[in-house]
């Protein structure tokens, strides 16, 4: 089942969480499993992604950008999948904040639209990947393999 999330974090409360984030980030190299954060507002799609990832990875799920940012700061995931069109702040906004906070982040944008504007915004945020729905196991694993190839010495999963 999905992990429950408590009260969403307001984006203007970031400084209060940064110290905890630094501690969480320091554990990345010691983890047995890669941590993956999925921010996706559709329950069906979120549940489907969880099913693909849960056997091999530590998975956190969020339904909006605020919950996603809260979980990112709490757990410092190795890889993050952000749906672009979310209720409230967009996935682009979340990516922009995460990239500013964490230069070592590995962010993959997910969209059902594949518009020129979305691609341009993703590039301007310097994210590492871009997936067009429908999801597939191959697309997800390709992103994870890209992460592993970028990180020298890769981690066992």
């Amino acid at each position: 089942m999905e992990k429950s999330t408590s009260m969403p974090l307001s984006l203007d409360q970031i400084p209060a969480r940064v110290a905890h984030f630094k501690i969480a980030k320091s554990t990345r190299q010691k983890r047995d499993k890669l941590g993956v954060l999925v921010v996706e507002d559709q329950l069906f799609s979120r549940r489907l992604l969880f099913e693909v990832l849960r056997h091999e990875f530590e998975v956190d799920l969020a339904a909006n950008a605020r919950e996603g940012l809260k979980l990112y700061l709490e757990n410092a995931p190795d890889i993050a999948f952000f749906d672009i069109e979310l209720s409230g702040e967009s996935g682009h906004e979340l990516a922009r904040i995460v990239k500013a906070l964490d230069p070592d982040s590995f962010v993959v944008m997910v969209t059902g639209n594949n518009s020129v504007e979305d691609v341009a915004l993703a590039k301007s945020n310097r994210v590492e990947g871009f997936i067009v729905k429908p999801y597939s196991k191959a697309k997800i694993m390709e992103s994870i393999e890209a992460y592993r190839s970028i990180r020298s010495g890769g981690k066992a999963t």
């Binding site: 507002d41 069906f44 489907l48 099913e51 059902g112 729905k133 196991k137």
Partner: protein
């Protein structure tokens, strides 16, 4: 005649786990009923952006399930968020018709699915 849902991609993601698929089908149908009701309400209230957002959400879900025709109808609805009420009524009728096929198909895969 082509099935309204191609489950090949979904089954690769679920590993063919029947319990998970049942759960996903139930979530899909529950979410779809809400999407349809919201689209109807958005059309009646002339809420163009809410209509677009709802159609977008249903499109993504449908494509992830493998309901390609339903996904394309929702994509069409998303693009036509500023269409006049009579055109939206026609779009909704097409979506409802295709969704009924999808629902019946899912229920036939697991007859006990809610």
């Amino acid at each position: 005649m082509t099935d309204p849902v191609n489950l090949a991609n979904l089954r690769e993601m679920t590993g063919g786990d029947a319990a998970i698929e049942r759960e996903l089908f139930a979530v899909f149908m529950d979410s779809s009923e809400k999407c349809f009701a919201n689209l109807e309400a958005n059309a009646a209230a002339g809420q163009e952006e809410a209509w677009r957002t709802e159609a977008h959400a249903w499109k993504g879900m449908s494509l992830n399930l493998g309901a390609e025709s339903l996904g394309h109808l929702c994509a069409n609805a998303q693009m036509k968020n500023t269409a006049p009420p009579e055109e939206k009524a026609k779009i909704l009728a097409e979506i409802k018709d295709e969704y009924e096929k999808v629902k019946q198909y899912l229920k036939s895969v697991y007859p006990t699915t809610a």
